[in-house]
Amino acid sequence: MINEPDNFEQLRKLLALKRYEQPPPTFFPQFTREVMHRISTPVRATDSVGDRTWIERLWQYLEIRPWLAGAVGAAACAALIAWIIYAQHVEWAPPTLPVVTQHVPEPSPEAPALVQSDKSATPMLATSTNPVPPGLFDPFGLRIERVNLSISNR
């Protein structure tokens, strides 16, 4: 048998302070009602551990391992940021521009030779990726003439 030394008496008096820790006065009447309600309801609440969904069990698992929860959160954030960056990179990549071939007609003789027309069909690159609404204007009917900046003697 282990004898209790006298110096534990002070400790026991100190531990007596714990007896003064009480919940609010309304706690125990409410507690009884809640227990009896849970017992008497048709769908009786079973043991909380066995009745949890997989999400609740996962949450409980992560709750007691804060370092793992932080790692999972950081990985999720990194994946989200990576996906956003990848999605923006795909949108901003220059598309392959279609080649538009236009037939440039000769200028009429009455008009001043302000430009020198190029009789050959000049392949030109469409500078806009937006499709031209049909009927707005006919891009293939445009007269495109090069500017001749030389001074001609008339």
């Binding site: 002070q10 008096k13 302070l17 507690f31 017992i39 609440a45």
Partner: protein, 214 residues
Amino acid sequence: MPKPAPDQPTADTANKNVGTPDTECPADEPALVRRAQAGELDAFEELVRRYQERIYATIYHMTANHEDAADLAQETFIKAFEALKTFKGQSSFFTWLYRIAINKTINFLKQHRHRIQMSLNDLDFSAEHDPDIVALISEKTPRREVNLVELQQRLNEALQKLSETHRLVVVLHDVQGLPHEEIARIMDCNVGTVRSRLFYARQQLQALLSDYLK
């Protein structure tokens, strides 16, 4: 030396006869338990009213968290109701109920070691008039009420540093006032084990609380 109480609560363990008579067994309790086993909810409600304070207090002193203590105490009584038909009466209902509560609490503490403790700050005002408490706190200190709160916090912190087993013996004996024999029945061990654990736990607490012990 027999093993301590098992981690998983089982009705067979709760019914194990330790040999010595129980110290607490009201005369009408066996009849009350039989009526509850027969399905009378009024009888079980009476059992809840009789033991809810002690069950809650034990769980609270172990967890130092009011919310957890309330949840675990509810689950204890619900588990007791579900397992009521397996109660053979070899021990008192009190002992059997305590075992369920303690097993649930210890399992909970092992799963939630990082739980934040929230102590009850609603100290009874009579605490500052307790002669033992007054003896511990100098009357010359102008803010004695602050010292009471600080003392409570330090006490709870020190208790949480003990292992669950050692904390339990201190709570049951020094806080709840249960005798060694009853604690041995509840913890499913012999009286010598209870005494040795209690001695070790007190030594640890004394070292942790040396500033408050004269």
